[in-house]
Subunit: 275 residues, 2 copies
C-alpha cells in the first residue's frame, strides 16, 4: 500500500467508474485511496472441487479470512458485491499460481477463466485503516509512504481440507493511549479483519525482529509506542499457495477488487438502487 | 420457544453438561433459557453435494442465515463450536426430511448419519432476545409464555443453486421510545440475525394480518406499540425443504444446538482453554 497521492486523479471517481477504467486497461496500479467509503477486497479464485473446503477454512478463520462474497461456479460476475463486476477484468493486477508456483502476473484473466472456477472475495485492511485515519489515529506506514509491515506468526489456523498453516499479521505501532480506541474502531469492521489479534510482545506470537518483516516494509516504532498486530489478508494467499492447487488466482498485493458495498454497511451485500 | 420456567433445573448447568444430559436422553425438551450466555444454533445437515451452494446461500443471506459453524464432511464432531460436540446425539430433537417431506422427528440421528453429510450451524434469536431482556426491553412472547410469532414475507432471498425463496421474519412489538435501543442492541449480534429488517407497516413486507402468524403464536400489540421485524432462522429451514434434497436434517423448532461459544464473543469459534 504505497502512498495515496499517486491515485489522486482516479480518487474522485465512483467505484463503478474506476472498475470500468481498470477493465479498459487505463488503471493497472494499486487501489489504495480509491473509491473512499467503498469496501475493497482480497481475491481468491479456485476450482470448485476445492471451494467447499476453502469456504469452511474462511468460516473457521474469520479474522484473517473475512468472507464477503462468493461467485457462482463458472460465472465471472459478482452481483452481490456491485453493479456489473466482471472478475476477469475488473481487478488491476492478478497473480496466477499453478501447483503453488507463481506462473504469471497479469492485468486480465479472461484467458485463464473456466467453467469450474469459483471466486471468493475477502475483506481487506484498507477499510479499518480508513476508519482509524478518520479518527485521527496515526497509521505509520501510510505516514511514511510505505507498504504495511507483515509478519509470519506461530498462530495456528483452523484447518479445512488442504488449507491450513499459520496466520500472517500486519503491524501498526501506536502510543498506549490510542490503543483502546484503535481496538474499538477496528472491531466495528469484522468484514475487514476486526480488532487486533495481539498487542505488545512480538515474541509471544513468534515474531523475532520487527525491523525484518516477512512482507512489506519496516516502519519506525517511536519511543513509548506499542506494536499492534492485526490478522492479514496475506494469510489466505499463503494458505492457497501451500495447498498447491492445479490453479488459483489472487489479486496482486495492493491491487484489490473495488466493490460498490459501503465499508460501514451492516452486511456486505450490494443493494442496486438504480433500477 | 415456550416459557423458560420448565427448564429451571437444567438452567444451572454449564453448556457441556447439558449436552451430556441431552446425549444420554435425559433432556429432550426445548433449550430456551439453558446455558445462559452461550450461543445456541439453528441446525442444517445436508449431503456434501449441496453444501457449497448452501454455504453460498448463507453468505448471501446473512441476516436470516448467520453462518457460525460448518463441520467436516462425514464428521459428526463440531470442534469449532465446543468441547466434544457430537451432532448425532447432542441436540434434543431433530427433524428428518426426505425430498422436502417431514419423514421423522427423533431425538438421535445416529442411524441417519452417513459419510457424505455436512453439518451447518446458524445463529438464533435467543442470543439477541437475552440481550434485550438484560437491557429491560420487553419481549412480548416471553412475557406471555408463547412462541414468537413468525411470518412469511415478500422479501426475496439471494438465491444459490437450489436454494432460494422469501424471508421469514419474527415480530416483537415495542413502544416507539425503545426501538432505537433494540436496533442498537440486536445490531451487536450479527451472528444472531443482527438488527431488525423492517419496522412498522406489515404490508410493506407482504404481511397481511399480525394476528395470524404463519408459525408460532400471535401476541398482543398494545396501543402505541410498533411491530418490529427480525430475520428468522425458519427461513433456511423452509429453503431447505423447498430444495427437496434427498435428505436433510434440522433441529425441531426451539430445540437448538447449545454451543460453548460465548454469545458476545467477537468470533463464533470455541477456544478450548482446559487442556
Amino acid at each position: 500500500m504505497p502512498q495515496q497521492s499517486s491515485n489522486s486523479a482516479d480518487a474522485q471517481l465512483p467505484s463503478e467508474a474506476i472498475r470500468l477504467r481498470i477493465r479498459a486497461g487505463l488503471h493497472d496500479g494499486h487501489t489504495s485511496g480509491l473509491a473512499p467509503g467503498k469496501l475493497q477486497c482480497n481475491l481468491a479464485i479456485l476450482p470448485e472441487a476445492y471451494a467447499l473446503d476453502f469456504l469452511r477454512f474462511c468460516q473457521r478463520n474469520p479474522k484473517p479470512c473475512p468472507l464477503v462474497g462468493v461467485g457462482e461456479t463458472g460465472d465471472p460476475m459478482l452481483p452481490t458485491l456491485g453493479r456489473n463486476i466482471d472478475i476477469r477484468t475488473d481487478v488491476p493486477r492478478y497473480r496466477v499460481f499453478k501447483r503453488g508456483q507463481l506462473a504469471e502476473e497479469v492485468t486480465d484473466i479472461t484467458s485463464h477463466w473456466s467453467q469450474d472456477l469459483v471466486t471468493v472475495a475477502l475483506g481487506c485492511s484498507f477499510t479499518f485503516e480508513n476508519a482509524l485515519i478518520r479518527a485521527d489515529i496515526p497509521v505509520r506506514h501510510i505516514e511514511m509512504g510505505l507498504n504495511v509491515p507483515m509478519f509470519r506468526t506461530n498462530i495456528d489456523l483452523a484447518a479445512a481440507g488442504p488449507f491450513g498453516g499459520q496466520m500472517v499479521v500486519t503491524m501498526r505501532p501506536l502510543p498506549q493511549d490510542l490503543i483502546q480506541d484503535a481496538i474499538a474502531i477496528s472491531g466495528r469492521f469484522p468484514q475487514a479483519h476486526g480488532a487486533p489479534i495481539a498487542i505488545g510482545d512480538p515474541a509471544a506470537i513468534g515474531i523475532t525482529d520487527l525491523d525484518q518483516p516477512d512482507y512489506g516494509d519496516a516502519v519506525e516504532i517511536k519511543p513509548r509506542e506499542v506494536p499492534v498486530f492485526w490478522a492479514c489478508g496475506v494469510t489466505p494467499q499463503n494458505v492457497l499457495r501451500a495447498a498447491q492447487l492445479p490453479i488459483c488466482i489472487t489479486h496482486a498485493p495492493g491491487h484489490m477488487l473495488i466493490t460498490d458495498v459501503a465499508e460501514d454497511a451492516e452486511t456486505t451485500l450490494y443493494q442496486d438502487t438504480t433500477n
